[in-house]
């Protein structure tokens, strides 16, 4: 027997679960198809009953859907196989939607919907899925309650007296409204839709809301206290995202329009390493990812150049600097081992064990990462001394101390490489320009002064123009001329790689060791979560020029880092569009956007990619008050191991004292006392509140009894008969009787309203409650009226 409300709720559930699948599949086709199907099925199958698939056709259609999906299942890749399963679930659900609804079909629809959510949980892990999951839970719980009521109402009646129990044919197991045999005949009076309507009222919202609330409270608690065994590996492997656009090489051959790519690369937050407070960064930090030392003028490409003969090493411990700033980086799936950081970088206890630093290029990387791990997000924490009073220092110390003569020789050799220009004859005008600038602006200056002068050439003149539209400069390009030379001498237009490349070569032409640094310079700061959002469009190139120790200006390095190896001056010749971008006035949209992004971060960190380590650090340890709360102890494998050892050795006293925590005990006692007091207070206040509530209502004792009169009004209202404000109930009954008597099919129903109104007057004004026989009679009359009017 179909129940329209239940059908609608199951249709909504089906739509939502398919939408979740659609998010996972990144395809709107199935959700759109399902939405269309559920709308049609509710209208044409459930409400109007115009179209219904019989069971044979439905089974045939499901078989066809299974074969169709099997084709997709044979394709390689677990994600594709999952999608094939998802498709099958949707197809079967579509078939079910157009079947006549009964208990079986309702149950199957709910089951398939839930399975779709399960598959969707494997395919997607975004915040959108989470929000939909919560909404789905609310709808599904409502639907489940209605489905339960539907089942319960269906079973009202006389239980058939079969000898075979569950082995009896299903038809004979069904409960009948009437039971009949030689000894007695039984008929149940209240059943079917009328009973359903008596249960499904507005008041049902209270227990269902409690159910929803309890579920939404319980689920997070369950989620966070269940111990993890790993690191959310499924999400790592199934992300399917790769960081595109960043390359450890720079090529200047590309022409055409470069698109602004908004894809998120990472989130970086800075905090005071000692206090844990967020660290306010002034300006936009330079997150270096790689260093390019060799420029090939033949293929116009920057490469690392300096081959690494030594294996990568672990990071050093930080010096005792005042502004020791912690960097927490959440790197999206990158597909390579390169990591980004502000330098100098130092290790702390939270730094991943697989994080290394290249001995020659001095950039961070992941050691021994498998393909699966490289395609997963990566999180690392390191500290840096790159800031002073919030500003990033312009000079970073050379990471090696050059203690031995061999070290110094090797470094000298490296510096030679960094002064080298491949085919200097290819850059006549560039070199000449550099010479003239230095002669003009820093004739007596050291390398620092000269470097700054060359940088200023790009920043302070209006000769150069920053552009991503390389198509505009294509007609101006001179064939056969190096792009950097052409940029400096001819068209003066380009993006950061042109500017940085030109400055690097100019510095080298002046004998200053220089290298091209590549990485990101984020402009988007999320003030809600206090982190920088780094996107592909923030990719940047700048220059690092080597300064001898004596050339480094006073005070730009911490004393602990000032040593004989000198430092690297960061030079950024690219004219910036707006230094304050992302830090300006915050509008409503920005707030919403920031909040959403922060919510996404939280979702990723604490739900979809919650790892064992993060769970212990962020959830269990704070709850456990330094892991000594018995609850956390119970969840800890070490605890049980120690317990077992102690038990084997018979040391029971130690067991009893193990991890007992007075603070935890006191907190538990206090919490218990508060809960007990609150319960007592509620119990004490409850009757008073109820009494007050009763006083505001009129005749609560009569309310359930006169419900039969309201049902009469409701029944007559369906026929367009409504009591006007000026009519008494009796007048209304008389009017209704006249109306019914006038229409031949309903003429025999005419006396019923008057009879019910008589009973109503007896209750309402005579204060005489009907006895059981009268009640039965009233119900019978109402039912006759309803059935008569329905026919």
């Amino acid at each position: 027997m179909a129940n329209l409300t239940l059908s609608i709720i199951l249709a909504i559930m089906a739509s939502m679960s398919t939408l979740m699948l659609g998010i996972g599949q990144r395809s709107p086709i199935l959700p759109a198809l399902t939405l269309l199907a559920v709308t049609n099925s509710v209208i044409f199958t459930d409400k109007l009953g115009w179209f219904r698939l019989n069971r044979f056709v439905a089974n045939l259609a499901m078989l066809v859907a299974a074969f169709f999906s099997l084709y997709g299942f044979m394709e390689a890749g677990s994600e594709r196989q999952l999608m094939a399963i998802a498709n099958l679930l949707v197809y079967v659900q579509l078939v079910l939607l157009f079947q006549e609804k009964n208990r079986r079909v309702y149950g199957q629809l709910a089951m398939f919907s839930l399975l779709q959510v399960v598959v969707a949980a494997l395919l997607s892990h975004g915040l959108e899925f989470g929000a939909l999951l919560v909404l789905y839970a609310v709808v599904a719980l409502w639907g489940s309650v209605l489905f339960y009521i539907h089942r319960e109402v269906e079973q009202v009646g006389v239980v058939p007296r079969t000898r075979f129990g569950w082995f009896a044919p299903s038809r004979s197991r069904r409960h009948a409204a009437r039971g009949d045999d030689a000894a007695a005949a039984i008929e149940v009076l209240e059943q079917g839709q009328a009973l359903n309507r008596a249960i499904v009222t507005r008041r049902l919202a209270a227990p269902v809301s409690s159910l929803v609330l309890a579920t939404l409270v319980f689920a997070p608690v369950f989620f966070y206290i269940v111990p993890r065994t790993g690191g959310a590996n499924w999400q790592r492997g199934m992300s399917g995202q790769r960081l595109v656009g960043f390359s450890p090489e720079v090529s200047l051959k590309e022409m055409g329009q470069l698109l602004q790519n908004d894809q998120r690369v990472m989130r970086v937050s800075f905090s005071n390493a000692r206090s844990g407070e967020p660290y306010t960064v002034i300006g936009h930090p330079y997150l270096r990812g790689g260093i390019l030392a060799l420029y090939s003028s033949t293929d116009h490409r920057w490469q690392q150049g300096l081959g690494s003969s030594q294996p990568p090493r672990t990071l050093n411990s930080p010096p005792d600097a005042r502004d020791l700033v912690r960097q927490d980086v959440l790197l999206e799936p990158a597909g390579n081992r390169l990591l980004f950081s502000l330098y100098p970088a130092y290790a702390i206890s939270d730094t991943p064990h697989d994080l290394r630093i290249d001995a020659n290029t001095h950039h961070l990387l992941r050691s021994a990462a498998s393909d699966r791990e490289l395609n997963a997000e990566y999180r690392y924490s390191i500290v840096t001394t790159a800031f002073r009073f919030g500003a990033q220092l312009p000079v970073l110390p050379h990471p090696e101390k050059l203690v031995t003569a061999t070290d110094r020789q090797e470094f000298e050799l490296a510096k030679q490489w960094l002064r080298h220009i491949d085919h200097p004859e290819a850059f006549p005008q560039l070199i000449a320009l550099a010479d003239s600038i230095v002669q003009e602006r820093a004739p007596q200056g050291n390398n620092y002064d000269r470097a700054r002068a060359l940088e200023a050439h790009f920043l302070n003149t209006e000769m150069y123009r920053y552009t991503l539209a390389l198509t505009e400069i294509a007609p101006l390009r001179r064939p056969g001329v190096d792009p950097i030379e052409d940029f400096v001498a001819n068209h003066h237009s380009g993006h950061c790689e042109y500017f940085a490349s030109a400055l690097t070569l100019m510095l080298r032409s002046q004998g200053i060791p220089a290298r091209l640094a590549i990485g990101y310079r984020p402009h988007e700061f999320n003030f809600v979560g206090n982190y920088f959002v780094v996107r592909q469009r923030d990719a940047h190139a700048w220059v690092e020029a080597y300064l001898e120790p004596h050339e480094i200006p006073q005070g730009v390095l911490y004393a602990e880092e000032e040593h004989a190896a000198g430092g690297w001056l960061r030079l950024d010749p690219t004219p910036s569009a707006d230094e304050n971008q992302g830090r300006g006035r915050v509008g409503l949209f920005d707030r919403a956007s920031n909040s959403l992004d922060y919510a996404r971060w939280l979702w990723n960190d604490y739900v979809s990619r919650l790892t064992e380590e993060r769970q212990k650090r962020a959830i269990l340890n704070p709850l456990a008050l330094d892991r000594r709360l018995p609850l956390a102890g119970l969840l800890d494998g070490d605890f049980w191991r120690v317990m077992a050892e102690q038990a084997r050795s018979g040391n029971w006293r130690v067991l009893l004292a193990y991890r007992f925590n007075w603070r935890a005990g006191l907190a538990a006692v206090l919490a218990g006392a508060v809960i007990w007091l609150a319960t007592r207070a509620l119990r004490a206040l409850g009757p008073r509140l109820r009494r007050r509530s009763r006083q505001t209502r009129s005749g609560p004792r009569h309310a359930p009894v006169v419900a039969f009169y309201r049902q009469l009004e409701k029944t007559l209202a369906r026929q367009g008969l409504r009591r006007s404000a000026s009519q008494t109930q009796r007048q209304f009954a008389e009017a209704a009787a006249r109306h019914l008597a006038a229409s031949p099919p309903h003429a025999d129903l005419a006396p019923i309203p008057a009879r019910i109104v008589d009973a109503f007057y007896q209750v309402r004004f005579g204060h005489r409650l009907p006895d059981a026989t009268q009640e039965a009679e009233i119900r019978l009359q109402l039912r006759q009226l309803e059935q008569g009017l329905a026919n």
Partner: protein, 406 residues
């Protein structure tokens, strides 16, 4: 009464649990956090359901209302009231399962089971649900025990308690209608003749008023004082008393291996007897002597009152046939039945032995030495058409619900 609520997982709950285990297994093996969150979302409602059914049934009791006595074939309403004695928390969808069984019937061990749903019982309130019952056979019916359960709100966990209280209802034989032949039969002065009824007492009945003199009135009826006052003759009026006393013998003989017609005949005889007793006692003013030859045999003698009728019907509701008694023994069972001038009717499930005049003399009372006067004795064989002269059997009960529906 404090009841113990039993909680167990329902069939749907087992399915649900299997799904939870499936998803939790997937979450653990694949380290899928979202599946774990989904598991939490599924476990929560299960626990809520478990707790809610316990709370819902706490301090809930049920009571049943039954009529005192009814006749087979009558339709009556069984009302079961569920009362929520808690101060808070409404009880939702209480499933009340009542059992109805006819004691001694073939299906006593497998009683009728009626499932009713109480939609909602607010705190401190009660709600009544009803079903209609039409017992088709006389006898004692047992109602209960009632099992109250709920699976609200999701149907995953079932909490239940049993109210062990049982009620019994005595169902009288079904009543038919007596024909005018029967009335004539009983009112005739002596069965088998058509004499005028003889008046009771020394005078001509009980005095109840005065009227004017009419020709033919006896001089003994004149009320002289009133006549003197009025100046014309006034006579006393008397209520004429007929002798409506009845001696009834219900012979419930049945073969040792009865066929269905034999069983039907027995029920018909009992129904006839019950109708006669009910009719006589409702009218009153006579004496009834009844003997039942059956299991167990029983005899009554007294004024036809409602109390006597109830006593007899109580017995008739449970009376069973016997196969060990001959017609002679049947008559001899009750030597003191009636008086010499009382009409005697035998309602029997076998033929009339007095139909054979040769055999008739042997049916004399051995103890009293007084034979039944042939003229005041009527044997009604319920197997034959003779019964139809005196009795319209009750309407077939099976049609009762159907008729109302039509």
């Amino acid at each position: 009464m404090r009841v113990r609520v039993k909680t167990r997982i329902s069939l749907e709950g087992w399915y649900y649990l299997a799904i939870i285990l499936f998803i939790a297994g997937g979450a653990a093996l694949g380290e899928v956090n979202l599946l774990l969150a989904l598991t939490g979302m599924l476990v929560g409602p299960l626990l809520f359901n478990w707790r809610f059914v316990q709370l819902t049934l706490r301090r809930v009791d049920v009571s049943r209302r039954l009529p005192w006595r009814i006749n087979a074939g009558d339709v009556f309403t069984v009302a079961i009231a569920a009362r929520n004695q808690r101060r808070r928390l409404t009880s939702w969808t209480l499933v009340v399962e009542d059992r109805v069984a006819r004691i001694g019937g073939a299906d006593e061990r497998r009683p009728h089971q009626v499932r009713l749903v109480v939609p909602r019982v607010d705190p401190g309130q009660s709600c009544t649900v009803q079903y209609r019952l039409q017992p088709r056979q006389r006898g004692r019916y047992r109602f209960g025990p009632v099992r109250v359960s709920t699976r609200f709100p999701l149907g995953l966990i079932r909490g239940s308690f049993k109210n062990p209280e049982t009620h019994f209802l005595l169902v009288y034989p079904p009543l038919g209608h007596l024909t005018t032949n029967w009335v004539q039969l009983v009112n005739s002065r002596s069965l088998g003749s058509h004499n005028e009824g003889r008046r009771q007492g020394g005078l001509d009945g009980d005095y109840y008023g005065l009227r004017e003199w009419r020709d033919g009135d006896s001089q003994r009826w004149i009320h002289w004082r009133t006549s003197a006052k009025l100046g014309e003759l006034a006579v006393r009026q008397f209520e004429q008393q007929r002798n409506n006393d009845l001696t009834l013998l219900l012979d419930l003989w049945q073969p040792e291996t009865p066929s269905q017609p034999d069983l039907d005949t027995t029920e018909l005889a009992i129904s006839f007897a019950a109708t006669v007793v009910t009719s006589l006692c409702k009218r009153g003013g006579s004496r009834l002597t009844l003997g039942i030859v059956g299991a167990p045999p029983r005899q009554w003698n007294g004024p036809a009152t409602a109390m006597l009728a109830e006593e007899i019907l109580d017995h008739l509701a449970l009376a069973g046939p016997t196969s060990a008694v001959t017609p002679q023994q049947a008559l001899n069972h009750f030597p003191t039945l009636g008086s010499a001038d009382t009409a005697t009717v035998v309602i029997s499930t076998r033929s009339d032995p007095f139909a054979n005049p040769v055999a008739a003399p042997q049916y004399e009372s051995q103890s009293g030495g007084r034979p039944f006067p042939p003229g005041r004795f009527q044997w009604i064989d319920c197997r034959g058409d003779e019964l139809q002269q005196y009795f319209f059997p009750p309407q077939k009960p099976a049609e009762a619900f159907g008729e109302r529906r039509a």
